[in-house]
Amino acid sequence: MHEWALAEGVISTALSTAKERGMTEIIGITIKIGELQQIDMEIFEFALKEINQPQRPMIANAKIEIEEEKAILKCRICGEEWDFSNVLNKLDEDKRESIHFVPEVAHVYITCPACKSPDFEFVKGRGVWLDCIEGY
């Protein structure tokens, strides 16, 4: 997913969730990011700071923690499990970027290392979610 779109989504989701919970100020949020998303943390953190400007006082001073989850893939045909990071380096820049924008195209460029099937699932490490919001 694109870093700027992700940052925008994280801030908007945090604000709407905090409002639903009756919070007036968010003091901390924890974001979990699957490795499959291929997020550039430097750009993401910059985008978060840019979007989270003082015009959003409810979240402006929140401490933001980002945790990355390793991506594990599992073949639906032979049951083989493997680390995404082991195959990522074998892909060229264009393919890595395609997976970054639409992670499901991993099925286009990656196959099971044991049986070569493209029919695998993401056991871990796909998606982005707000794991925790703290405030009062």
Binding site: E8, G9, A47, S98, F101, V102, P103, V128
Partner: protein, 245 residues
Amino acid sequence: MDPRLVLIDDRFRNIKHIVAVAGGKGGIGKSMVSSTLALTLAEMGYKVGLLDLDFCGPSAHAILGITGVYPTEKKGIIPPNIHGINFMSIVYYAGNNPSPLRGIDISNAMIELFAITRWSSLDFLIIDSPPGIGDTILDIIRLLKRVEFLIVTTPSRVALETVEKTLRMLKEMKAPIIGVIENMKIVKSSHVEEQMTAIGVPFLGEIDFDRNLEESVGDSDKLLNTDFAKKLKITIADIPIFKLQ
């Protein structure tokens, strides 16, 4: 909490009408109708987008002859404008390779595309969808609250039987139906029109089977000059949604 979902309404906010072209079977002309409809509306002076959501068999780019263009990155993804259409498709990322996606992957890829794509202000966004009433159609209804469905069928009783199921489901889910276009008409018959009248769905018109249509594939100028495109233009002329001021 999935932070992608909150972005979707905002991404489609500046689009006046979202029209999903759907139908029960493959090979009935949904992609041809979607692509030609987008071209026709653009030629009429409207601001138009075309989104190909047939991930496992994308073809709008082939029909319109779109090659060598890619979205630009600017705080998200901006679809390129070609032939007057802002065009978005998974082919930018999957190339000409097969995309073996299961249901959950289709849903996730749709959410991802909806969340990252920054459409400009549009009069119409035309969506080309895969056959049937699977994950794509269910997610279009779930995620795009303002979508309206334009249904395509052929005179074939096989196509008609499945399209009736699609229509029934759309009605049950309270999804707005613009109406049904009967495509690839060969023999004069009012059977489809009568069936639509019987189930209370607007019959929008019929388009004869165009033997020369294949020759225009990949050439948008030729496509606009086919009998198929001319008849489609006449068919939509009477539909209120396509008459913007």
